[in-house]
Structures are given as C-alpha cells and as structure tokens.
Amino acid sequence: MDQKRISNATLLKIGILILALVLPALPFVSQYFLHVIILIYLYMILALGLNVVPGFNGLLDLGYVGFYGIGAYTSGLLTYHFGLSFWLIIPLAFLNGALWGVLLGAPTLRLTGDYFAIVTFGFSELVVLFLTNEIWLTRGPLGLPGIAPPSVDLSWFGGPVWEFQGELPYYYLAIVMVLATIFVMQRVQDSRLGRAWFAIRDDEVAAVSCGINLLVYKVIAFGISAAFGAMGGSFFARWVTFLSPDMFKFWESFLVLCMIVLGGMGNIWGVMVGAAVLVSLSEILRDLLSALGLPVEIRFLAFGLIMVLMMRFRPAGIMPIRAVAAQMRAGRVKRRRAKATASG
C-alpha cells in the first residue's frame, strides 16, 4: 500500500512539472500570466529558503527580507556598475547571502527564540535603512533603474550574444532555479544534517545529548536560508530591472512567513503550495478589487484577516508535516469515536 502512495505523489509532481514546462505554449497564457507564474516560482524559492529556519529548525526568523534585499542589490549593483554576467552573479549572490547569514547568525543564534526573532527583525530594518540612506552606493529612494537583463554570451564560439527578452526566458530559468532549490532541500532533509536540524526543532536538550552542537547547526541552517534568499533576490533584480529600498520592507518577510505557515511549515511541498496560493490570492484580489472599483490596498487587509483566521482554525497549514498530519487524523478519529459513543 505504501508503494502505491509514493508513486501517486510522484506522478502528481511529474504531471505538474510537465504542465509547467508546456504552459507558455497554451493558448490562454499571456505575458502577464507568465509574469505571475514567475512570481510564484520566485516566492517558492524564497519560501523553501525560509523554511529551513522555522520549518526545519524551529527558529523564528522575522528578517528574511534582509537577505533577499542584499541579494537583489548585490546583483543589481554588480550589473549596473560592472555589467557582470548574471551567470557569475548567481553564485556570488548565493555566497554573499551565506556569508551574511553566518555573520548575523554566529553571535545571535545562541539567544533564545524571541530575542533571536527580534534581532533578525532589527537586522532587516537596518538593511532597508542602509539601502535608503547610503545614496552614494544604492541611489537610495531614487532606486536603481536600468539593470540589464541576463544574457547568454556565445561570442566565444562565434555565436550571438542573446539577451533575455519577454517573460519566456525568465520563465524557464525560474523553473530551473526552483528545481535546483527543491533538489538541495530534499537532499539535505534526508541526511545527517537534516536530521540534526529536526532534532534541534523537536527537543534541543535531547539533541545535545546526542552530540549535536546547537550553535554550529543553527548557523549552517541560517546561512543556507540566507543564501537562497539572496539567490532569489539576485534573480529578482535582473528580472524586474529596477530596485528600490521600499521593495524590501518587513511586509515581505511577513508574506514569506505566511506562505510557509499557510502551506505547512517544515514540508517542502507544503511551503511551495503556500507560495502559490498566496501569490495567486494577491493577484486575484488585486483584479477583483479594481474590478469592483475598490482600492487595491484592501488586499493587505484581507491578508491580515486570512492569517488571523488560519492561525485560529488550521495552524498546521494546508500540508502539514507527516507527524502533525498523523496527529490530526488521530485526533479526528478520537473525536468521531467519542461522538459515536456519546450519541449511541
């Protein structure tokens, strides 16, 4: 029976992948539609990255947007000033993100949960302040315009220099990046490292008694999370070709946090579903509200309300991790049995 369950899920994933690959060829698909899907892919990467910290390690991170912004501006500035190739920027942004993750994490991850959350929050606010005020570097509130799109330089082999145009090249690049992120997360999850993280999440004292050095593993988690956030940011910069500091406010951190909570924290597929749901919701609400003639900002109102209701009625999310799902099933069975005996 187990065998069948696994292949159903795998079939579903393969089906979705095929659908994703052929999507641009479908008739009703406009550039705008592709743009939204790419946004979903981007947030999937961010959600997978953030998931490492609260999802795998049980630590609250309120400052994820800080790394996203660092990655975006690293990518944007390197392109703007030096015209660096995007294919070089991706690993650079990734490593830079990891570096900042380690720098921030090493002194602060020994703090208890709430304090750590506050520090991450403060960090991301400082990043925004820095981006806004260091005008000589970032052009501050004026923003950084005209960031060149990625290009594939085949002139080495006597071929053309082909620059990304339209949404299509970004679309497939985003798919590749998402797949790479999923790959890393799955490998890591099923390894000694991943197990150490889950141990830390479930019971720090017991984890320590098994020989796990809490600080080292938390810093690794934080660094990896930051690296993927920065990588997402580097893509973002060269996709929207314009950056400004107010794109990296606390709201983004909260949004990604909502995605992983809504989707099912700790579950790779769950957080991806959460990303897809929230981005879609945001766009649908935007369309709906402008069609109704209402101010578009109300969707934030709806978001806030949705999160409050989710926490009240389904805090485990849409696709909780296996253990939680099992507990919920067991709870339902117990309640059904109790009801049956009560009424019978």
Partner: protein, 297 residues
C-alpha cells in the same frame, strides 16, 4: 544645542516609555510581542481627531475618550484574536499579532485615507502654545503637558502594580499562570485588563504625538512601535520600570544622535541599540532573562 536636544529627547522618550510599558506588560503576562500595539497608538490619535472634528468635542474630553477607546481596542484584541490561541504554539500567536497589525493599519487607511493628516488647528488648549525661551533652550506648554501626562501615568501605573489587588494579580500571572489560577486569580480577566491598561496608555501616547508633530497617518504606529519595543528590550522585556527607563534613554539617545550625528539614521539608532543590547546584555537594565518555555529536565 545640548539642552534643547535633551528637552526633545525627554519629550519623545516619555512617549516611548508610555508605549513601551504597554509592550512589556503584555509580554509579562502572556509572553507575546503584541505587534498590534502600535496600531492602538495610531488609533488613539485618529479616534481623538474624529471626536474633535466629527463631534466637536473639546480637547481634554477627546483625550480621555480616546484613552477609553484604546483600552477597549486592547481588550477586543485580546478577546477576539489572542485568547483563543492561549494553548497554541507561540508562532501562531505571533503571526496573529502581525496579522492584526496589518489588518488594523489597512483598515485605518480605508477609513481615513493613507495621506498624512494634520491635527485640527486651534483645538488644542491655548497654553500649549505658550513658549518660554530660556538661555539655552526653549520650552512650550505642550512639552510640559506631555511631561505631566507621562509622569502622572508612570506614577499611576506604578501604584497600580504595587498597591492594588489587580497589580498583584498581574504580577502573579506574569510569574506563573497555573499557580495564580490555583490561588483564585481569574487569569483571563487579568490578561484582558492588562491589555486595557496598555491600550489606554498607548492611545494617549499616539494622540499626543499626532498633535505635537501635527501629523497623523495610518502607518505611524509601525515605526513608533518598533522603537518603543526597542526601549522595552533595552529596559529588560517584562520589567515595567525597565520599559520606562528604556523609553527615556532611547528618546534621549535618539535626539542626541540626530542632533550630533546623522538625522538620516535616526531610526537606525533604535534598531542598533536593540541589537546590541540583545546580543551583549539580553536582560537589559532590569529584566530577567526570558525563560525558555520548554519542559524542564
């Protein structure tokens, strides 16, 4: 310049203190960082303006009524959003708090629009405008009013905590909910009333700031809230005297920093202080280190 910045610092510091005690009181009883507290501060200002402009109320009456509304909002926040999650994991409560904060901010934007509004002119008591020019600095009646309100509220809060039964109940709940409940304390009621006190003080702070700087906008709670929270952390989260002191110290530090260093990074000072305090002296001035709410060995 020093004395003038000191006056400014003490003024804004008093405001931070008023908001900070709200954070710290709530954290003390339910170990939750009430992200929506800044929104009650903001609502205090907007309610007051609505009372004054919409209903023609005089300033002092609007002031007290706004405080009352703040108290009610605080209680509603607890009863509707937080109380159902008493047994839930901390992350759920935190997300709810942030969710409520966003909800309230945007609700205010819907109702009052997102552009900054001035405080209705000529509705403040006349003596607020009276200015005393001393050798090195000047002082207005409004400054004195803020000082007076801040001091009265701080003293009042102190008496409430130390001398009343409610205060004792609050301290009991903060220390150990189970024991307090076994000792006959209605824990939920105490928590809700704590939110009421916090809300009233926050609303008063918001109203004074809105009037003093002559500018109200729906996101004003966000930045002030973060800074006040930094002040609460500085003083030691959970400690009320700490929050008072932390607020004043942060206000003065900010004024000095803005005056002597860079006014651009004015906000950065709070974040910087917060991070440095947490990393190097997490307990702040008076705080006891946050107890880990995990099973004991």
């Amino acid at each position: 310049m020093f004395l003038q910045q000191l006056v400014n610092g003490l003024t804004i510091g008093g405001i931070y203190a008023l908001i900070a005690v709200g954070y710290t009181m709530v954290y003390g009883v339910i170990q939750l960082i009430n992200f929506a507290h800044g929104e009650i501060y903001m609502l205090g200002a907007f309610f007051a303006v609505t009372f004054i402009v919409g209903m023609g109320m005089p300033f002092y009456m609007a002031f007290f009524l706004a405080m009352l509304c703040g108290a009610v909002c605080g209680m509603l926040l607890d009863v509707i959003a937080y109380r159902p999650l008493r047994q839930s994991p901390r992350l759920a409560c935190l997300i709810t708090a942030i969710g409520m904060s966003i909800f309230l901010q945007n609700l205010a934007m819907l109702i009052w629009g997102s552009r900054p509004k001035p405080f209705p002119g000529n509705t403040l008591p006349a003596w607020f405008n009276k200015t005393w020019h001393l050798t090195h600095f000047s002082l207005t009646g409004f400054h004195l009013f803020i000082f007076a309100v801040t001091i009265i509220m701080m003293v009042g809060l102190h008496l409430l905590i130390k001398k009343t039964r409610f205060g004792k109940a609050m301290r009991a709940v903060a220390q150990n909910k189970t024991m307090a409940s076994l000792a006959g304390v209605n824990v939920n009621k105490v928590i809700t009333l704590t939110f009421a006190v916090a809300g009233a003080m926050g609303a008063a702070a918001g109203l004074m700031v809105g009037a003093f700087y002559n500018s109200l906008y729906p996101t004003m709670g966000y930045v002030a809230g973060v800074k006040a929270f930094a002040a609460a952390v500085l003083g030691g989260i959970g400690s009320i005297p700490g929050a008072m002191l932390g607020g004043i110290v942060l206000g003065v530090a900010e004024a000095m920093g803005a005056g002597y260093l860079s006014s651009l990074y004015r906000d950065g000072i709070s974040y910087g202080v917060m991070i440095i305090v947490i990393v190097f002296i997490p307990a702040g001035f008076f705080g006891v280190l946050i107890k880990e709410t995990k099973k004991s060995i």
